[in-house]
Amino acid sequence: MGEDDHVLGDSGPLVVEYADLECPYCAKANLLLAELPVRRVFRHFPIVSKHPRARVLAHALEAAGMQGAFWEMHGSLLGDQGHLDDPHLWLRCEQLGLEVARFDADRRSEAVAERVERDFRSGLRAGVMTTPTLFVDGVAHPGVPAADLIARLSR
């Protein structure tokens, strides 16, 4: 786990997740993980050829994080993947009480692009080939987490 990783929860087994915010399977995995007593680390793995908005959304999520609303925006985006255009992003910002102008500047910044690219590269190095891919105890679990993994993480 890295110093600037996005972490949710402070106890339970560690689950490192590579995900694409436009991917429906990631939305489903998010619902399953939200119910589990785990520590989650989120890393970006946007697959643009498949999901044209994936990288834009990854940048938007990082920008929301710079205003302290990473997981709120994460839940918002994955909770409704039917509204992912810019005006929808601005509306989401308003609903989360974020400064829209700052959000827009941040999401287009070099720092945010580099951050997302770094996550993506780390996923490639780890052999990630599908989203979502969860790592638990160093073992990769590609796809929506299966029932046995969910059961194991529920304990």
């Binding site: 498949k50 490639l124 780890a126 080939m129």
Partner: protein, 153 residues
């Protein structure tokens, strides 16, 4: 499957647009033949989509990817569009699986090529190959970069 050190078996196949791509065209560059079982299977879709994201890095290393399956060229054209990839897809359709057989990745009982990677060098020698234990397992893009590192060393 074919092993590193062998001469790359010759081929001449139609790509998704009906243009011919032959082994001789790959001279002077590193080429990876990405054999995959079938267009439109969900696993292949992820494999080529992720590879698409690393094409600029591969280009910078004088390396190019070519998908190869036993699907017809028109099916490959539709598949290429549907997953938004620019990776050329070569049709090993007629005589069916001839190139898959030459590279020894043919699965006779299913009539398809198994999932495999073959790295061909600038002089058209096979430099590295990889076949996952199961065709459902997708070889990570990292394997291609590791292989390029190894042959450049």
């Amino acid at each position: 499957m074919i092993e590193a050190g062998a001469r790359a078996p010759d081929f001449s196949l139609s790509n998704q647009d009906g243009d011919t791509v032959a082994l001789q065209d790959l001279k002077g560059q590193y080429s990876v033949l990405v054999f995959f079982p079938a267009a439109f299977s969900p696993v292949c879709t992820d494999q080529l989509s992720v590879y698409e994201e690393v094409l600029p890095d591969l280009r910078a290393r004088n390396a190019a990817l070519y998908g190869v399956s036993v699907d017809g060229a028109f099916a490959l054209e539709a598949f290429q569009k549907s997953i938004g990839t620019t990776i050329p897809l070569l049709s090993d359709f007629h005589p069916k699986g001839e190139v898959a057989k030459a590279y020894d990745v043919w699965v006779p009982e299913r009539g398809i090529a198994t999932r495999a990677l073959v790295l061909i060098g600038p002089d058209l020698d096979v430099l590295w190959t990889h076949q996952p234990p199961s065709p459902l397992e997708i070889p990570g893009a990292n394997l291609i970069f590791d292989a390029l590192d190894a042959v450049a060393a």
